[in-house]
């Protein structure tokens, strides 16, 4: 594996290898010395053509803990805002000797385009492309679920996950559906019909319009952010009605199984899809997701970049 573009490209063995590697690396992150020499001399470019806090900082922290050099590059304040194309940007990065480019872009398929082109020779890591995929987020979610709920096994067989909310705009949901089902989990999507994409019937998931009937049976409640910036038309009558039917609040929290956990990929709209007390409750593993994000991304960078790039790496 040279690039990480989509969960669809990963076998379950490869996904489990990433999770296992992260497991070992998390012990390093817990130790007194957080820096490892493993990627010394490698240059990694964070190419973010769309806003991000968590993912960019997380990849940056992961790269730095492995001693790679990180160059941050955001569309605002660069020549991209003067109209420079992806091709010219990529060729510039290649000329500067980038070993890997972590790309976030508002266009679905941007990472694939970069990887398929001859513009640059380094690895491409998809950090979110449009409404397509966000593979590193799904991997850190799977890692968090495994750490909290799975004891003894290395996949997610028998775990039931509800993904709730704005499925249609969510690359996190797409990557998670692919990865969680690949690892043996059972996934139920919960959303109003307007927030489900066309063709969702063919996905390997169950679908429900009734949050209350699902919540008491699941091990994981994964809330998604309502992506107001991608909504050019009306998808639900008003925010209060949405919160009432599909938001996670104190009453719904009480209906959950005693062991069940609450997840959210962030950033949260507190008060819309999740109330503040649910987000901060003891069941919430939202901050754990952030911590795990760094170790999972270290594992991705290690597996893509630590070995020989010339030999054509096989994961």
């Amino acid at each position: 594996m040279r690039h990480l573009l989509s969960i669809a490209d990963l076998s379950s063995t490869q996904a489990i290898q990433i999770l296992d590697t992260a497991e070992e690396l998390s012990r390093v992150s817990d130790g007194p010395m957080k820096k490892l020499p493993t990627l010394r001399g490698r240059t990694i470019v964070n190419l973010f053509a769309e806003d991000s806090t968590r993912t960019r900082i997380s990849f940056e922290a992961a790269a730095k803990r492995l001693s790679a050099d990180v160059i941050n590059f955001s569309a605002k304040g660069s020549s991209v805002s003067k109209g420079e194309s992806l091709k010219d940007t990529a060729q510039t990065l290649q000329a500067m000797g980038a070993d890997a480019v972590i790309i976030r872009h508002s266009a679905s398929g941007a990472a694939q385009r970069l990887a398929d082109s001859q513009w640059m020779t380094g690895s491409v890591i998809n950090a979110g492309d449009g409404t397509h995929e966000h593979p590193s987020q799904a991997l850190l979610d799977a890692f968090t679920i495994r750490k909290n709920l799975v004891h003894g096994a290395n996949d997610l067989t028998g775990i039931h996950v509800a993904i709730v909310g704005d499925i249609i705009h969510s690359r996190v949901a797409r990557s998670n559906v692919l990865l969680l089902t690949k690892l043996g989990a059972h996934v139920t999507l919960v959303a109003p019909p307007t927030l489900l994409p066309t063709g969702v019937e063919s996905w390997p998931v169950a679908i429900s319009y009734d949050f209350d009937s699902v919540i008491e049976n699941v091990d994981v409640v994964m809330m998604l952010r309502i992506q107001l910036e991608r909504m050019s038309e009306l998808f639900f009558p008003n925010a209060r009605e949405y919160s009432h039917y599909f938001g996670l609040n104190r009453d719904r929290l009480k209906m959950m199984k005693p062991t069940a956990i609450v997840m959210h990929p962030g950033p949260m709209n507190r008060g819309l899809e999740i109330t503040a007390d649910s987000a901060d409750s003891a069941r919430s593993v939202i901050l754990q997701q952030v911590t795990n994000g760094v170790t999972v991304r270290m594992a991705i960078l290690y597996l893509l970049l630590a070995g020989s790039l010339e030999l054509g790496v096989h994961l």
Binding site: Y302, L303, G307, L311
Partner: protein
């Protein structure tokens, strides 16, 4: 092999005046099994539990770039840690010395031991770094073309050290 492990155990105890100050750290995969064997033997001799664990050195190797990525192995540090302990690194075969250099780096990341010693089952020569073992099961002069295979019952179903003729 058992006799060599018994002798090394006694040498470790003699040199460190007992087992109270020592921590055995095996380098996965086979060094970890050897460390467990040594710990069991020392416990049998002394009658006290011994601190032992494993130390994965993959992230500190200097040959990472020459091969496809390697899977990481577990690192388990015993309860007393390594700080001010007499740490004994354990590996099956001592060859170039590069693994031990990486192990010293990995160990430095965990803490500052009082001393670091090295126990190996086989020393086959051909050092590329100024590193020597404190405890050696057997010195086995080899040519670079030969391959040494160490097998443990736990992993391979038998205890054996075999020398194979390989092609250079």
């Amino acid at each position: 092999m058992d006799r060599a492990i018994t002798r090394i155990s006694h040498e470790i105890l003699e040199r460190n005046s007992g087992s109270d100050s020592i921590t055995l750290l095996g380098i996965p995969t086979r060094g970890a099994h050897l460390a467990t064997r040594l710990a069991m033997k020392i416990e049998a001799i002394e009658g006290n539990p011994v601190q032992y664990g494993t130390l994965d050195i993959t992230l500190h190797r200097d040959d990472l770039r020459m091969r496809p990525p390697r899977a990481l192995m577990p690192t388990t540090i015993p309860t007393l840690g390594v700080e001010n302990r007499n740490v004994i690194l354990v590996d099956d075969v001592l060859f170039s010395g590069r693994t031990i250099r990486a192990a010293l780096d990995a160990l430095g990341e965990i803490g500052r031991p009082a001393s670091v010693q090295l126990a190996v089952l086989i020393d086959r020569g051909h050092r590329q770094l100024p590193i020597r073992a404190d405890y050696v099961g057997k010195n086995l002069p080899t040519s670079l073309a030969q391959i040494i295979k160490v097998q443990f019952t736990e992993l391979d179903g038998l205890d054996a050290v075999t020398l194979e003729e390989g092609a250079l």
